[in-house]
Amino acid sequence: MIYNQAPFDVIVCGAGHAGCEAALAAARMGASTLLLTGNIDTIAQMSCNPAIGGQAKGQMVREIDALGGEMAINTDLTAIQFRLLNESKGPAVQSPRAQCDKKAYQFRLKHTLELQPNLQVFQATVTGLVFTGQKVTGVRTNLDIEFSGTTVVVTTGTFLRGLMHIGQNKNEGGRMGDFSAKTLSASFLEAGIELRRLKTGTPPRLLGRSLDFSKMEEQRGDTSPTRFAFYDSRDPEDLFHVEHTGEQRIGWHHATNQVSCWMTHTTAETARLVRENLHKSAMYSGEIEGVGPRYCPSIEDKFVRFADKPRHLLFLEPEGRSTNEYYVNGLSTSLPFDIQVKMVHSVPGLEKAQLLRPAYAVEYDFAPPTQLFPSLESKKVENLFFAGQINGTSGYEEAASQGLLAGVNAVNKVRGEPPLIIGRHEGYIGVLIDDLVTKGTNEPYRMFTSRAEYRLLFNHGSAELRLLHHAKAHGLVSPSRLARMEESKRQIEHWIGFLENHKAPAGQGTFGDAIRRAVTGTNSTHVMPVLPAEFITQPEALRQEVLYRVSHSGYLSREQRQIDKLSEIEKIKIPPHIDFLQVRGLRKESALKLSEIRPYTLGQASRISGVNPADISVLMVLIEASRGGRADA
């Protein structure tokens, strides 16, 4: 049966980190939205480690917040430990990170979805897509109920033909205890969408009271936490939370009551166990065909690839306040369960540890993301959007970023509005999506700060400033918040101008000169000038931003100049229906690559490997010719 006569504007399949952001973004833009999940009790589940943020990811979460997403505030309100990584380094590479209470995180997000106008949440497993011609028009479910929708956002995570491995033991499912979406893959293949396999893994979970923490090193949270959401721009009524633990309030003191993580390490015995049983590992015995990430190796990989490293660090991370379960960060493996138990017991402090859940590897289908436009819409099937691990990424933050954009762009598609595309020069989310759709990926893609050409401009504190024009253009934040964001931007520009143009006392040149000498100077006189009283009384975040931009103006303007240099070709859009193979003057190799990627702008085209500047010249001429030829010089 068909459930709805009038189609939903947007149907989101899957309620993980990508699906939740997609559904919220679409509903908040006023679109009628349906969120389907196989299990309402595992909404926004952190399937792997109980942490949000970290290098580059922390910056992304702040960008999500600047675009009206939910991840930042959900983290702030459910975190049990905050740490600012790289605190000793410059602002550009400092990243907030938080341990979260997994259940609290889920509950609050579930409740947020429940209260969201225009959004309907329903428990059903999507078994297939409904196509009309080359368009998607709805989804089929395991309940034999069909839902019709104008657009569909697919966020299947690791569930698409998910297969879990523990040694030789195999279970179908995307996560321990959950199901596998077995039939949906057929729908994609039917539509001509290519699928491949990836693999990821997760470590065992241990019972806290069976651990001896006295043998481990404590890792405490920061005394003054760096939160993810921007509060200076928010009204109190922009916030809400769930009192499931009875102690959280707006203005809750995050610094108090934090929970610690614990550090220990593997031993020679662990290494021996791994080496002697390597042939039993699913990954080393050829059981797994999917490609795993280089940056998140299993313990087998670590001992094999870094044979001379005697031991590896392990982190015990609490999974929440209301549970005694601990996550063993660093001990991801696909060895058989009996070996896992011995391995765990070979670690100082874990001698008597009781395993609550085994470690396992999981293989799943992904759709190589070069099959998408930068809007995250499929090139093969109109109105079909993909976000999260199905695009070959890894990480909650990467998933949430894509979900947010896919949700926004599904609505834009329904309304005939231009898509939201964030430039590589505007934020990590821009880098993420451009990398995915332009270059694709061979391993689960994780964001690193080194992937961004303009990293120095991407300090986490500037996310609102960098993205507010997008938030404004697509109506992603409330008018009052937008007004505050704009005012803050004006203030920052005003104060930069002020400090650069006014003389500091005692002949130190301008305030700007004196600040640069104090912050980046190499002589011993690192004395901050006395700054104007009116500046000192500005909000902390604003002052930080102004001082960063002034003190690093040399490097920042170098990045800005590079951006300006490329801005010409970034602005030129490639007409979507160009047949590259018919373009005279293009090299065959380039024409093939261009037809596969179908870049959105000349800038994107220039980043495709094998496309050279002459090809760009040819396209430039072609585009100019096809739109009437005359330059508006």
């Binding site: 990584l85 790289n86 550009a92 490293k309 080194s450 120095l456 170098r558 003057g585 090809d615 030829g629």
Partner: protein
Amino acid sequence: MSRPTDTIAALATPVGTSAIAVVRVSGPDCMELAKAIFGGPPLPPRIARHSDYRDVNGCLLDDVLVTFFHGPRSYTGEDSLEIASHGNPFIAQSILTDLLARGCRAAEAGEFTRRAFLGGKMDLPQAEAVMDLIHARSERALAAANQQLRGSLGRHLGDLTEGLLLVLARVEAYIDFPDEDLPAEDRRIVLDELSRVLHGTSRLLATHHYGELLRDGIKTVIIGEPNAGKSSLLNRLVGRDRALVSAEPGTTRDFIEERIILGPHCLRLIDTAGLNPTPAALERLGMDKTLERAAEADLFLWVLDATRPLPTLPNSVTGRLTPSNTIVLFNKVDLLTPGNAHAPLPSPTLPTLQISALTGDGLTELTDSVVRLADAFRQGQGDEIIAINSRHADALRRARECLETARQKVAENGAVELLASDLRGALDAFGEIAGKIDNERMLDHLFKTFCIGK
């Protein structure tokens, strides 16, 4: 479509010796450039003017014909310059190098034509023809570049790039994985490898100096006592009366410079004031300049008057004369009477020739000897010949600048993300020569070097 904001330059005539060579410049800075290079009042549009081309350091490169075109009445529709120099490829290259040093960008294949099209200078039906042309040019440029990169330049650059990626991986690891169990940051390794890359970059750039030798010519200084016939020799070699010649000693007070092509070599012949043991005040000035020139010479032609006793030259000059950089020329052999042989040399090892600048006797032997010395000189530059071009040198210079800043940062324990920014600047510059360098390559190094992943 927005107008380009940068000014491009390129050789418009085929590389090789020809009657004239044309360097073409297009973009908003043309008027400023013309003023800076040629001085004087603004060039009137579309009128060729004869003018000296002096480089940023004020050195005369050539006398040229320069024509200014005021946009949109130009080939590209932008302000343009066409600089016609003598057809020696070395001169044209020097001019191009100078334009890049002044802030121009080396034009991409077909870029003038593309700008012409985008500037509305061509009709729509021409678009496809333009695209074909860009294609053909880029294929040629690509073939040429590939040939060069397959050679020793490619190997050296590849080695430097790998070294730099290694350094960058070591730096990036501590930025992106602060929570990992990395070994203590070892800036020593970074510093050593960085120094190696910097050294290699400088050496590649030095081959540009050799390239400059090829283009600008091997500095060949003609020295000798007054009235030994130095200027006559120059004129004879150049083949026209460039230097003012007279029978009166000390006619050349300033030095005169000419370029000549001898076999595969380009020589910058520098005629100098005579070195007189007892100079007059004005002559003294000229002599000081001669000594300065002698100090930076690559080759010496020491002209002696065969009819006169051996003169004494200042030690600062004779100390530099070796058999591999000097030819002693007994001039005016036409005036020698039989039995009246010239005096023996103080240093019997220096090769000698007898010539007459007046009659041309011995000039063929002289040419052969100079070519031999120049050949040997070239080999002295290294076993491999890597002559990088102006565009490469421009990129390598920017790379070196970034690397030097980076090395300073490492030494001072400066901010690591800024260090990374400098290293990436250098990597980008390398990439301009050999093609884009994907960040994946750095990550490969990183994950090979460090055990990342909790």
